[in-house]
Each structure stands twice: as C-alpha cells, then as structure tokens.
C-alpha cells in the first residue's frame, strides 16, 4: 500500500443488535493496516451512505444478522449510487443465505461474507480486490 491508508467503513444498519462480528472485523482490519471507521448500532441507510461520502471511504461493509439484508442493502445501495460511490468496494456480512448472493451482487455488493466466514478471508478479499 502506498500513499494514504485505505479507509474502510463498517456499519450496522437497521435494528439488529448483534455487533460481536462487526467489531471483530473492525479489529482485524485495523491490525491489517487499514483505517477503519465503525458506525455503531442502529444506523439508517441515509446515515451510513452519508458517512461513506463524507469520509470518502474506499470500502463500505455492512453487517446484518437479523435477516433484513435485502431491503437494507437495497436502500443503502441506492444512496451510494446517488453519491457516486459505485467505484468503491461494497461488502456485506452476516446471516445471509447463499441464494441471496446473486441479488446482493446485482445491487453492487460483490463481497458477501456469510456466518462462519474467516477474518483472514475478509482481509485477503479486500487486499486482492482493492484497486
């Protein structure tokens, strides 16, 4: 990595309170040398997309375990497109069935990390795919 540290936003949209995974991912990404911003719980898609734009982040990662990933990703993606952040990396992790991967990819969430994903897989995915 040259130049400025790459910036990653990890966000918890919706009412889901499960934050063990999101916080663990934040720590792993910090250890991997990234600058990480964590939103905390209960964020609206508006707040998340706004933060991503204001902080000009390179990666946006959503963590959703309640099962509401499709509507929440849809809303966030719409706003991120409005803010012209389609050239950034969009990720989503949590309790996500395999059958939803396609729909999420079509929305722009190319990296999907369901329950049981490894930290090392998340870190290497970002390393390999971040321009």
């Amino acid at each position: 990595m040259t130049g400025r540290k790459k910036k990653i936003l990890i966000a918890k949209p919706g009412l889901d309170g499960h934050d063990v995974g999101a916080k663990v991912v934040v720590r792993a990404l910090m250890d991997a040398g990234y600058e990480v911003i964590y939103t905390g719980l209960r964020q609206t898609p508006e707040a998340i997309a706004g933060k991503a734009r204001d902080e000009n982040v390179d990666v946006i990662g959503l963590s959703i375990l309640s099962g509401s990933h499709l509507p929440l990703c849809q809303k966030t993606a719409k706003l991120l497109r409005e803010y012209q952040m389609t050239d950034r990396m969009w990720l989503v992790g949590g309790n996500i069935p395999e059958k939803d991967r396609q729909a999420l990819a079509e929305m722009g969430f190319k990296g999907v990390f369901p329950t049981a994903s490894k930290l090392s897989d998340i870190v290497s995915y970002i390393r390999e795919n971040l321009p």
Partner: protein, 544 residues
C-alpha cells in the same frame, strides 16, 4: 509387549499444558491437598448459606428444573399456537421472543420497523397483542419470562395489566422479565435511552414490583450475553454481579429494604464451554452472590441471597458447520446446567445457528432435557459433583477469578461509568477478537470447524425464516384499527401523565400501567420517554 513397557516412553515427555478459559491452570490430577490449598471444602448443605451446593435442600428430587424454550415469531396469534404446542409437549414455562421493533420501542407501522415486524420474535404494539398471545395459558402454573430490555418497563406493565384483566391477583403473580439494560450496552444492543435514564427505569420496575407484584421477578441479570460477546466464564459472573449490585444500590436508594426485593432478582447465565469449568462457575457464583447479599447488604432473609438462575442457550458454542453436531452439544450443555443446579433451563436448538427453530428442533431440545430427568438420573441427588477434588478446587479458584473481575470493574469507577464510557465493551470485544483468531488458527479446537472437517466442502445451510410481508401488513392493519377504536382522550391523558411523571423524576410505572390499560402503544409510550430522557449515543471505543 507388557503394559509397563508401552507406557514408559511417554513418561519422559511432558503432557500438554491446559489452561481453562477463565485463565486457571488445570492439573492432570487433583487430590485432597489441592482442595485444602485452594481454601477447603465449604461444609454447608444445600439450602444453607452460602448455597454452594444449591439453593434448596432437595433440589430436583422435589421439582425438576423448569423447561423454558425461547419462542416467539410473527404475531401474537401464531406465537400463542406455538406456546400451546410446547406446553402440550411437556414444557413447563414460557420464554417469549419479541421482534426488534418491539424491543427498540417502535410501533409496527414506524419507518424504523420496516422489514422487521414479526421477524425475530412476536410483534407487540399494545395490550391487545398480549391478550391474544397468552390466551388460554394458565399463568399460575406456567410462568412466563419476557425477553425484553429497552422497553421492559412498558411490557412488564402490559403483562401485569393483562393478568389483572384475566382475573389473576397481581400480588400473587409469578413471572420474570429480562430487563437487564446494562448488559444491553455491552452485548445484544437493544438499548433506547441514555445509561442513567435506562438504569432509572429498571429501578422503577424493581420498586413498583416490590410494592405491587412482590412475587414477580422484574430483573434477570444476564451474564449470558456478555459471555456470548467475548467474556470468559469468570468474567461473565463478575460483570453480572457488578450489574446486579448497581441495580441493588439504586433500589436501596429508593428506600426499599434489601429483603423486599433481593429475593426476586434472578440471573441468566451461559452453559457452553468446558463442563467442569462451568459447573465450578455456577457453584462459585451461587456462593459468592450469597456472600455479597449477606455481608455487603446485610440481608436478614436467607432467600434474599439465592442465586436463582436460568442456565441455558450456549449459542456461541453452536456451529453452522455440521449442524447435527449441535444436537450433541445441546445435550452436553443441558448436562452442565443440570449438574450445576439451575432452576430453569433453555437450550438453543440445533438449527438456531442459522434460523428460527422449527417445531421439530424445539421438540428435540425439550426431549434432551426430559431425557436427563427421566432416563439419566440427573434429578436423583443434589449437587452430584460436590466433593470431587477437582470441582471443589476449581470452585474456589473460580470464585477468586470472579472477585478479580468485580475488582477490575470497581477500579474503572463502577459498572455504570465503565459501560457509559465503553470500557467494558472494548475489553469484551478485544477478547472476542482473540477468541476468533484462536479459532481460525486452531489453537481453540472446534469440531467440524477447524478439526474433523468434512472432506468435501459443505454447503452451509443458512436458511432464514421467511419474512411474512402479509403478516406484517396484517399486524399494521390491526394496529390502525386499534388506534381508531380506543378512547383517544384517555390515551392522551395517560401519555400526558407519563410525561409529567418522567419529567418530575417520579416512578413511571403507575403511569405506564394506566397507559397500557388504555391501549396506548409501545411506540407512543417510548416516544414520550425519549422526549424526556433522550436517546443513548453509543461510545465507539477499541482500546482500554
């Protein structure tokens, strides 16, 4: 080859060191000397202070543990149906799951509730939903535990109002609310109001119940979720006791006597991990809580110091890989709870790592507990592991570790301050990170995950309970109908009173009970309280 010859070469090689999760080094063998060196055996009998061996003299011989599977989904009517199914299958208590909108204080038609109505639990907007959910349930013989925190004061008011309407004497009504908001800030996350206001509401419920519903347990202090979030077994108890003491101090400051409410405090604790460490944890916890209540709070009634507990779950121990293994894990976890003298048990179902349990999975959990009672002899004698050199030594050592954690919390300025500043959250999540790294490196062994994995890559079976959009719309339609039919002026008056009481820092429970009876909604009451108290702002902290 003789036996002696085959053993000999191994003797030169030291055995692998073992340190349990709480940080205690485990010896290959324990003798009477270890028990003495660690502080000796507590000679008290079960039912005698400090209750190391159990809070009742005859324990399960008199009455097996209550079986209380966590249940609730969609709406009140569907949940009611599942309640009746579980009771018909021998379940002896209810443990109600609420959807996230209810838990976070939103009505089903609020924009924040979109996509969440009835998803992870039952949707509740008003007293009407409680009337439907508990229809036909005998509240004298089936005790109900409400897994609710942020809006607990409202739902307790609702439960008491529902019971009263059905003709039960509230003064004799039993039941439990989780209502442990301090742990929500550490793990689980269904907080609403700032820390101080949240603790005030918990104290309001304790004070109100002590006067009006003295058999009702308004708080179940949860080490459980803190453990799930990354704490060790000893820390789980240490944090839970620090939290329980905080509520106790607040209740005392309202002028209550310790003996008026301490006996109704209960605990919700976790059962996954090393069997012996867990059993020792529960024995040590029981003893230490009794000491705290007797020595620090000078309770006169012995049952004020009872550590009454639901021991259950173990969700973190379950895996999405080879999910059938979770059935075995559940059985061992149930064994832990039974060997530990828990009053109530609830098991995570084998499919719970990835979905809301099916009726079949719930029946397997129920049968697991029934097997222990009927076939395996777990209810025959009290504290069957008592007297084991290993268990007695470990009990003493675990108590020392619990004290260590409580001291650490005190050094941070107490649990309310440590939670407000995000200190405990950071410590717990740092540990979760270490735990995850150890799982990925194989330092912590996990069957089906980092050892004995399937040769062929498994298709991980994440299945979501399908979201019932039509059901959500039905819930919203009933809510709108309710709003149109109820006495609007009465609701208005009750909400005004609630606001006045909150502003004047009076106990809000009487106003909540009145508002609930007028069919004010969860969202309306929460909004009034948010207006007065504000909303919690989460401290983001990744260092100590």
């Amino acid at each position: 080859m003789s036996k002696a010859q085959s053993v000999k070469p191994h003797k030169d090689k030291p055995v692998r060191p073992v340190i349990n999760e709480s940080g205690i080094e485990i010896k290959t063998l324990y003798t009477a000397q270890d028990v003495v060196a660690s502080g000796g055996i507590d000679a008290s009998l079960p039912g005698e202070l400090p209750f190391t061996r159990g809070i009742h003299p005859e324990m399960y011989r008199r009455r097996p543990w209550t079986m209380r599977q966590y249940t609730g989904f969609a709406n009140a009517a569907e949940t009611n149906e599942r309640f009746h199914y579980l009771i018909a299958n021998g379940q002896t208590g209810l443990n109600v799951a609420f959807d996230l909108a209810t838990q976070c204080g939103y009505d089903s038609d609020a924009p924040e509730a979109y996509g969440e109505v009835g998803r992870v639990g039952m949707a509740v907007d008003s007293l009407r939903d409680f009337e439907i959910a508990f229809d036909g349930i005998d509240l004298e013989n089936i005790t109900v535990s409400l897994t609710i925190n942020g809006t607990a004061a409202i739902l307790i008011a609702m439960f008491l109002a529902m019971a009263e309407k059905r003709g039960y004497d509230v003064a004799k009504l039993r039941g439990t609310a989780q209502n442990d908001i301090l742990k929500e800030f550490i793990g689980r996350g269904t907080w609403i109001f700032p820390v101080e206001a949240s603790v005030k509401l918990v104290t309001d419920t304790i004070e109100y119940c002590a006067h009006h519903a003295p058999k009702y347990s308004p708080v179940s202090v949860c080490g459980y979720h803190i453990r799930e979030s990354g704490a060790t077994p000893a820390e789980e108890i240490g944090y839970a006791f620090a939290i329980a003491k905080a509520y106790t101090d607040r209740a005392l400051s309202r002028g209550l006597d310790i003996d008026e409410f301490a006996g109704r405090l209960s605990f919700n604790l976790n059962i996954y991990g090393n069997l012996f460490e867990q059993v020792a944890k529960f024995r040590a916890a029981r003893r230490h809580w009794a000491k705290i209540i007797a020595d620090e709070y000078h309770a006169k009634k012995p049952d004020s110091g009872w550590l009454r507990m639901i021991a259950g779950g173990g969700g973190f121990g379950l895996t999405i890989e080879q999910p059938e293994n979770n059935i075995m894990r559940g059985a061992y976890y149930a064994l832990v709870a039974a060997l530990s003298g828990a009053q109530t048990m609830a098991l995570c179902c084998y499919d719970e790592a990835y979905t809301i349990p099916t009726p079949k999975a719930q029946r397997i959990s129920l049968r697991t507990m029934q097997l222990l009672i009927e076939e395996i002899g777990l209810c025959d004698t009290v504290d069957p592991l008592g007297g084991s050199y290993y268990i007695e030594t470990l009990t003493n050592q675990m108590e020392d570790k619990i004290v260590e954690t409580m001291k650490w919390v005190d050094d941070q300025g107490g649990v309310v301050k440590a939670v407000s500043e995000g200190i405990i959250q950071s410590k717990v999540s740092a540990h979760a990170y270490e735990r995850q790294k150890d799982l990925e490196s194989g330092k912590i062994r996990k069957v089906g995950v980092n050892c004995y994995v399937e040769e062929e890559k498994e298709d991980l079976k994440v299945e979501l309970h399908p979201y019932d959009q039509a059901g959500a719309e039905k819930q919203i339609a009933s809510l709108k109908k309710l709003r149109a039919e109820r006495n609007a002026a009465e609701v208005e008056r009750c909400l005004k009173e609630l606001r006045a009481d909150a502003q004047a820092n009076r106990n809000v429970m009487p106003a909540l009970v009145a508002a609930v009876k007028a069919y004010a909604t969860v969202g309306e009451m929460t909004n009034v309280l948010v207006d007065v108290f504000g909303r919690y702002k989460e401290p983001i902290r990744f260092s100590l």
